[in-house]
Amino acid sequence: MNWTWFHRLGSPPHVYGFAERWAPWIGGVAALAIVVALYGGLVLAPEDYQQKDAFRMVYVHAPSAWLSLMAYSTMAVAAAVGLIWRMKVAHSAAAACAPIGAWFTVAALGTGMLWGKPMWGTYWVWDPRLTSELLLLFLYIGYMGLRAAIEDPQKADKASAVFAIVGVVNVPIIKFSVNWWNSLHQEATVMRMGKPTMNGDMLWPLLLMFVGFSLYFAAVVLIRLRAELLRRERSASWVREAVA
């Protein structure tokens, strides 16, 4: 098996160059996908027979919620790689994921509340999915708080990596406990925000939106990754070239 690709992944200048070359392309495709999906979702898709046009909020809520989780798992995987193989690049990637994930958690919460108002009659309902999303936001805040509170960047990398891994083990447990808790208090939920049954015209914009959000995430991570790599590199000559 050829492992050169793995070694290249561990080399900051190589990754920096890769990120610099590819971020605009990935970002461009992401923007295109999101715009087309928006048109498909807002204009082409027929309205839902139950939720009417309100169902269209799924096109922004679901991808945001998904991105918030994907960012957390990517962060935890990168953190684990960084801890095990002592890879600066992996720690940088983990650091790059956190703020993006946190912002999309906020977006998922906000869009969920806006969707909840017409559906439940109130902005906030202790729905298990919204509650889990809120707890995920707390985990992100903890992660970033820990990182900010440790002065030495390498120490911060390692400590926050341990927290990210502990968090990712905990996320399914939190999810399970929140579902358990919700089943005890079923009457609190007036109307479940169930997924509307989707026909093809409704579905393709959603799927395209997922693709667009994923590519967008990759592009923004690559930009942030470059910043994190520069911060961690102290003397290497490639930095001189990169910032010239």
Binding site: E151, D152, P153, Q154, R234
Partner: protein, 205 residues
Amino acid sequence: MLTVSGLHLWRGDRHVLRGVSFTAGPGQCVLLTGKNGAGKTTLLRAIAGLLDPEEGQVSWRDAPARRSRDVFHAELAYLGHEPPLKGDLSARENLKYSIGIRRGVTREEIDGALTRTGATDFSDRSVRMLSAGQRRRVALAGVLLTGAVLWLLDEPTTNLDADGQRLVADLIDEQVSHGGIVVAAVHHAMTLDAGNVVNLELGST
């Protein structure tokens, strides 16, 4: 045999260790000198495995120390700036617990070590009440009790009177003559009887 090869270490933005290498075999004493901030403490902590060097390696008995950490630590005694003692416990209690987690230790052994370092008189007083020099004597008794082959001492004579400084030199001489290895950071030159002393000045490269 302790082998340190090409250690590079940064603290924050500062490149503290710039490729430090040396070896120390049985019966050898390495005295680390250098200005404040030259990296003496950093080097000792890196050897002990408390700090993770960015580049380079510490080997013990021809194997990377990091890979067989517990074996390495069982043969190592580290004494840092501050004697690792609990203020609320007496000297004797401190040693009973801190040595006990390493190996089975008897009361007689503890008494012997305290006598050797001249700490018997105050061994039952709570450490909080002791002077800095007295604490250091207790900590030195702890180093003796570990029975470790490799000693890493960070400015072991700090706070000690002339008598105590002589004691440290004697202890190092003894350890070395028994085939042990000592790596010590010192800020003034130390007169040792042992023949095999290497001086390593840090911060000059």
